[in-house]
């Protein structure tokens, strides 16, 4: 009886074990293993080098730049996306005529693929025909080489990514803002509470769990940014937009240094894990505070 139940359980779990094992666990374990190897041009391991790949990485100027710009990129992208999406969500939750149109527009970026969006922005950043350069010229401001200046290139990638992630964050936050009970705002109305008091005592606390969720998702998405970099800057100029995932791709499939690429992947995994743990710890501590 017991055995049959175990068999049934295994049978039911088998499809997901198969899928997860093939596409998640096996590649993950293999990545960890490959990060301790040197490989030939085909990516086959030649010999074991221990942690040499990692020490090489941290001694490499290129990799350190990559880590720095990745952290700056992720931090700025996440903050700007969440703040902007929250602001739009509050605007779009007002009961005005035709507000449905704006809700659709604000969430529309969800339906656009990375490639299409990047090419769109590539045109807008074009120094000759691009919208941004035209605007600067119109305002008689000095021209900016959007994609070939180390700082502005990162700004351009951040702008593109924020725009692309905005739709999803906006939609989720809009749902949260609209779910806040109306009577809380009526209490505020009766006493003429200021906009600031409403935001800090009603809206923000009520949407905090959703803000947390959106932050985590945006953050992890930002760490995995690839398409925008590939199309807009290809990691340049001088590695200043060489985000980690792009760097991994370059090392694995362009430089054929699979061992080095695997080591970078492990570093990225560890960073995301640490950040996620910190977030959940903060959230748990907050929950504990509410319990009394």
């Amino acid at each position: 009886m017991h055995k049959r139940q175990n068999l049934l359980a295994f049978g039911l779990l088998f499809p997901s074990i198969l899928v997860l094992g093939t596409f998640v666990f096996y590649p993950m374990i293999k990545t960890f293993w490959l990060s301790t190897q040197t490989t030939d041009l085909m990516g086959n391991p030649i010999n074991s080098v221990g942690f040499k790949n990692f020490t090489n990485l941290f001694n490499s100027e290129i990799f350190r730049t990559s880590i720095t710009v990745t952290l700056i990129f992720v931090l700025v992208t996440t903050v700007v996306t969440v703040v902007l999406a929250y602001w739009l969500a509050i605007l779009a939750s007002s009961k005005l005529k035709g507000i449905g149109f704006f809700r659709t527009i604000f969430s529309a970026t969800m339906g656009i693929s990375v490639t299409v969006a990047s090419i769109l922005w590539l045109f807008m950043f074009n120094p000759q025909i691009g919208m941004f350069s035209r605007i600067l010229a119109f305002l008689h401001l000095p021209d900016i080489n959007w994609l070939s200046d180390p700082v502005w290139a990162l700004v351009a990638i951040i702008g593109t990514t924020v725009w692309m992630n905005l739709g999803f964050s906006f939609l989720i936050l809009l749902g949260a803002v609209q779910a806040i009970p109306e009577d809380l705002y009526q209490v505020a109305d009766l006493n003429g509470a200021s906009k600031w008091l409403r935001l800090t005592k009603i809206t923000l606390p009520a949407t905090e769990p959703t803000v947390f969720f959106v932050t985590v998702v945006t953050l992890i998405n930002a760490f995995q940014t690839f398409g925008q970099v590939d199309i807009l800057t290809a990691g340049g100029p001088d590695y200043h937009t060489n985000l980690l995932v792009y760097s991994i791709y370059q090392d694995a499939f362009v430089n054929h240094a699979v061992g080095r690429a695997s080591a970078e992947s492990v570093v990225l995994t560890v960073i995301i894990m640490v950040v996620t743990f910190i977030q959940f710890y903060l959230n748990k501590r907050k929950a504990a505070r509410y319990a009394d």
């Binding site: 009577d183 009526q186 209490v187 009766l190 009520a206």
Partner: protein, 358 residues
Amino acid sequence: MSIKLQHLKKTYDNGEEVLTDINTVIEDGQFYVLVGASGSGKSTILNAVAGFIPVTEGQILIGDKDVTNLPPKDRNLAMVFQNYALMPNLTVAENIVFGLKARHVDKNIQQERLAEVLDAVHLTEYQHKRPTNLSGGQRQRVSLARALVSDAKVVLMDEPLSNLDAKLRAEMRREIRSLQQALGLTVIYVTHDQTEAMTMGDKVMLLNQGKIEQIGAPLDLYNHPVNTFVADFFGSPAINLLDATIANSKLTLGNGHSFKFNQTLEGPVKVGIRPENVHIYPGGSMNGKVTFVEPLGDGTNLAVDIGAGQLMRMKVSEQLLLNVGDDVRFDVVLDQMMLFDAKTEQLLSVGQAENIAV
């Protein structure tokens, strides 16, 4: 502070009329109940008085001041909400002084008033807890305290007891009523519960589909309902409304039983008999078969088939040992018997029938 509602009208954009010509005066210190089924417009009136929704036509006067177009904060009102409307992130004390804080009241005065109202609603030892850790009754008392702390003389209450269990509701009814009387508050109280309307109100407005059916003291509405809707709304079990005809000063029920009738009326009518206005005793002049019995302990509810397809609900204060199918004899208390026009359903008279001498 008195409140006057003059020709209030509310029409939605789609043309649906939710309030039609609401007129009433709520006296200073009165406990005024708006009662009706859902969709009757009672909450719409309350929201209009609060200033949460604009009215289409008419004026709202609070203490002789026209507030029709003023924002809620300038109407000097407090409100108690059905779902308490407490901010989960704030403690009991912070919730209560929220309005004072919004109005920039001096911190010392805030604390003084807080202590007073916490005492009034018996929540002093809970002031540092958060609402999620309180029971429903305690939460509603916090909401009540927040309304009291504002010092507003008009308090609006929107079904404040509907989320509480029956026992707590009875307790809170008394608590709210005594606080209102002690503080001399003018209260507009919205409810769908006829018991709350009867037990708490100084004056009751019964609404039906955006129209006023009747305004009056609770017992007036019970004893002299202007039509069958009002008669049917109050009382549990509901009033018996039986078809009958009047001819030659004789009122005859469907089952053939007749009463002497003193007014010059002819034709079909509806007879209204409250379930408690029935005497069951062996010498009764009417009879019927019991179709259902509900022993209550302190009394008995029953329904009796009196013939010709007419069922009569009865409520007596004794424990009757009756079974379904038993024969009972009874008489009706005639000076409480109501007559309604069969067509318009308006009240014609109360207590004009007499038993015909046998």
